[in-house]
């Protein structure tokens, strides 16, 4: 790792992604994939590459959050449909 700061960021990202992965479809093996992807990049030393990897991790985090939001919203929308005449 290039510096303490990036190490802390990587750890925080890993913890956050790990927590998110708990609600993922179990057959996808989110935690396994997460670990392997992080381990693959463990020896990066170039700042640019580290930055790119961290950004990718953030991207995955946002995508996963969006998936969860959508799943929940769709489910609730089906359970509580909007009234037929309103335009929402």
């Amino acid at each position: 790792m290039a510096s303490k700061a990036t190490r802390l960021r990587a750890l925080a990202l890993y913890k956050e992604l790990h927590r998110l992965g708990r609600d993922y479809e179990p057959s996808y093996d989110f935690h396994g994939k997460l670990r392997r992807l992080f381990e693959k990049n463990r020896n990066l030393s170039d700042d640019e590459e580290i930055e790119k990897a961290l950004r990718f991790g953030e991207y995955i985090k946002n995508e996963t959050l969006a998936l969860y939001s959508l799943r929940k919203y769709r489910h609730l929308k089906r359970m509580y449909p909007s009234n037929s005449v309103s335009d929402t």
Partner: protein, 268 residues
Amino acid sequence: MRPSAVRLLNILVPIKRAVDYAVKIRVNPEQTGIDLNVKHSMNPFDEIAVEEAVRIRERLKDAVKSIKVVTIGPPKSAETLRTALAMGADSAVHVEIPESAPAPEPLGVAKTLKALIERQKDSVDVVILGKQAIDDDAGQTGQMLAGLMGWSQATFASKVIVDPEQKVANITREIDGGLEELRCKFPVIITTDLRLNEPRYASLPNIMKAKKKPVEKLTAAELGVDLTPRLETIKVTEPPKRVGGGKVANVDELLARLKQAGVTGKRA
């Protein structure tokens, strides 16, 4: 220059730890209720309420003095309060009931909230809560609280605009015919509908920070409220299984089947 001393707003957000939305609800073997040995989380409509309170503060900045969340529930409900604090609430109140106690009824909840509001040093201006809980779908607490307090109410809100200087809230409601716009004077009770907002994710750092936010513990007895259920549930059963439809060969057969089912073409 701002006009002199607008009193700052205090927002109260009651939340409930309910059965998680993704859980498949099953009736318990005794047919007295649903199986509660399942995953619980904050009622989605209450998440929307917490989110709205936080957004009101983001819009009005310093005009909002405090956002307080409250829950009435067993010890595990403290986790739900933590999530709300992580989303942006400042402090919490946990009215703790024993693990084995029956779930409080909407009237009991409303009475408890009333007692809590009256106990507050800083008067509450806005109460925002979910329109209903997804495990009991009663949809009564907000309305009952408004009745008990004699406050204005706007239920099924799909849009809320707070004017702290005029001390009113302009609220759009979802009703059967479409949308209704109300202007309610403070203090006001608002119940949230699904389309009001999209709740934020409580990130891990925020959850850690939330551990430091104050949580006041109370009991219903301390508030002078009796939460004994007034309703007795006699039986809970699953809805009848869907019976498949059948195909008919022609119009005559259709008429014969309809007649068989007791549907006749008699003029009223």
